[in-house]
């Protein structure tokens, strides 16, 4: 766990943006490290939760968006549940994710933003998730076709994965919600 601090032109700018996006007060953190102790992926990351917060407090800039925890995090929210000062670190990670995607920062491995987009694309089309389509598209786009091929036949046979797209949803409501989100944030690409 080594923290490298780089001087920024506008120190604290990222902290401000994250605080606003996540609706948190990061100076409430006094490094008790309960978040990092409870984090189920702390042993697989270079910067655990408490260190990310400390780096933000010290004025970290966009280099922080390369932190591997952003894409290793499981959104389990153990950090938030155990924080004595109620800092919602899960929301901090969501904010960092959105910023990293916005600024086109490279990811270590896997492609969660792509998966999320493909997943939400099916919701946009059918009003509900069509997991077979989202998974197939993800595998095609990432070239990771072989993985899980051994499981699909059994899952399809058992009816543990639907073959046909979902039906019955009020699609117009969902379309309106996505349209509004795209207008507000420019998330729809």
């Amino acid at each position: 766990m080594t923290t490298r601090i780089t001087k920024q032109k506008a120190p604290g700018e990222l902290l401000k943006v994250v605080q606003e996006k996540a609706d948190v007060h990061l100076y409430a953190c006094y490094q008790c490290k309960k978040c990092s102790i409870g984090c189920p992926v702390a042993d697989q990351t270079e910067s655990p939760p408490s260190e990310i917060i400390r780096r933000l407090q010290l004025g970290a800039g966009d280099e922080l968006l390369q932190a591997d925890l952003i894409w290793t995090c499981l959104s389990c929210e153990t950090c938030y549940a155990r924080c004595p000062n109620e800092i919602n670190f899960a929301a901090v990670i969501d904010a960092l994710k959105a910023l990293a995607v916005e600024k086109g920062v490279a990811r270590p491995e896997g492609d969660a933003p792509l998966f999320n987009r493909l997943f939400l694309d099916t919701v946009k089309s059918y009003g509900r998730v069509y997991d077979l389509q989202a998974i197939a598209m993800y595998k095609l786009r990432t070239g990771n076709i072989k993985q899980d091929m051994d499981k699909f036949p059994a899952m399809l046979k058992k009816g543990k994965m639907a073959i046909l797209p979902p039906s019955g949803a009020d699609k117009s409501t969902v379309k309106r919600i996505f349209k509004k989100a795209a207008q507000d944030k420019g998330t729809e690409k």
Binding site: V41, Q44, L74, K160, A169, A181, D184
Partner: protein, 290 residues
């Protein structure tokens, strides 16, 4: 007891067993579940990672439909439960969020619909005493590890499900059915389900750690209330064997499947045939149901 029922997208795909066993149990106990007409996706984990307003609006669309039905909304998927509860919490605590959701839905929603997980209906509304009277196939001491995972208990101020670090609702149900609760410390650990397709190895290792803890405690099966936990712990056991060289053979059962067995419902109606790891040990325990 009448409720608006929100099945969630997995009910017709990866968690049909959860949905079918929930409906069968509700029917057997006289709990009326009225499916919300036209329900849509709650946004799951993809929406909140993308944009908070989108996540709250998608979940609120269904809450608004339940409000029009004038009933509490019952959910059996822990992830949908979580997203719906968080949407309510954010709307109740932020004027800005309430406005954003209203703009997005073109209708106001005040965050007032009560969201309940089906196990809360069993344990609180119906109550364990009433449930006890309906048990015809006691579980004969089957050793069960109750696993809550993340979505039911966190964030505590939004879900308010039970003690967030040591919930005991599931254990109460196991107890009434004549099962034995094993003592273990993994019940609110994360299964790693969110990285199931994106960083699979993380999920495989996390889920293996959970199963290992339950096995060390002497559990013959793990009981879950979340489709993401079920898939990670059940379907990924084949990958655990490949990656870690260990074969766990640990059945991962929805709590509603187990309740159904104890109520004397046929295993097929409860979706036991859909599990990847064979549930023979569990079925044997409730002999007479098969």
């Amino acid at each position: 007891m009448k409720y608006a029922y929100y099945p969630g997208c997995s009910a017709h795909s990866t968690a049909r067993d959860m949905h079918e066993s929930c409906l069968a149990v509700a029917k057997a106990l006289g709990v009326e579940l009225n499916e919300i007409k036209g329900w849509t996706c709650c946004g799951a984990s993809a929406a909140h990672q993308t944009n908070r307003e989108l996540a709250a609006s998608l979940a609120s669309a269904n809450l608004l439909l339940a409000k029009k039905m004038g009933m509490d909304m019952v959910v059996t998927c822990a992830a949908c439960y979580n997203r719906s509860k968080v949407a309510n919490y954010e709307i109740l605590n932020s004027e800005e969020m309430r406005q954003s959701v209203a703009d997005s839905l073109d209708q106001a929603y005040d965050g007032s619909v009560q969201v309940r997980h089906f196990v809360e209906i069993l344990s609180k509304d119906l109550g364990v005493a009433a449930l006890r009277k309906k048990i015809v196939n006691p579980l004969k001491g089957l050793k069960v590890a109750s696993y809550y995972g993340c979505y039911l208990v966190r964030p505590p101020e939004a879900t308010g499900f039970d003690d967030p670090e040591n919930p005991t609702i599931l254990e109460g149900l196991i107890d009434v059915m004549g099962g034995t609760n094993v003592e273990w410390s993994g019940k609110v650990d994360c299964c790693g389900g969110m990285q199931n397709l994106t960083r699979t190895e993380i999920t495989v290792r996390r889920s293996a750690a959970v199963i290992e803890m339950a096995q060390a405690a002497g559990a013959e099966c793990i009981v879950v209330a979340c489709p993401m936990c079920q898939i990670s712990l059940d379907v990924r056991q084949a990958d655990m064997e490949k990656l870690l060289g260990k074969k766990y053979d640990m059945p991962i059962i929805y709590v509603t499947q187990l309740v159904g067995l104890a109520l004397g419902i046929a295993p097929k109606e409860l979706g036991f045939d859909k599990l990847m790891v064979s549930p023979t040990a569990v079925l044997k325990a409730a002999k007479g149901a098969a």
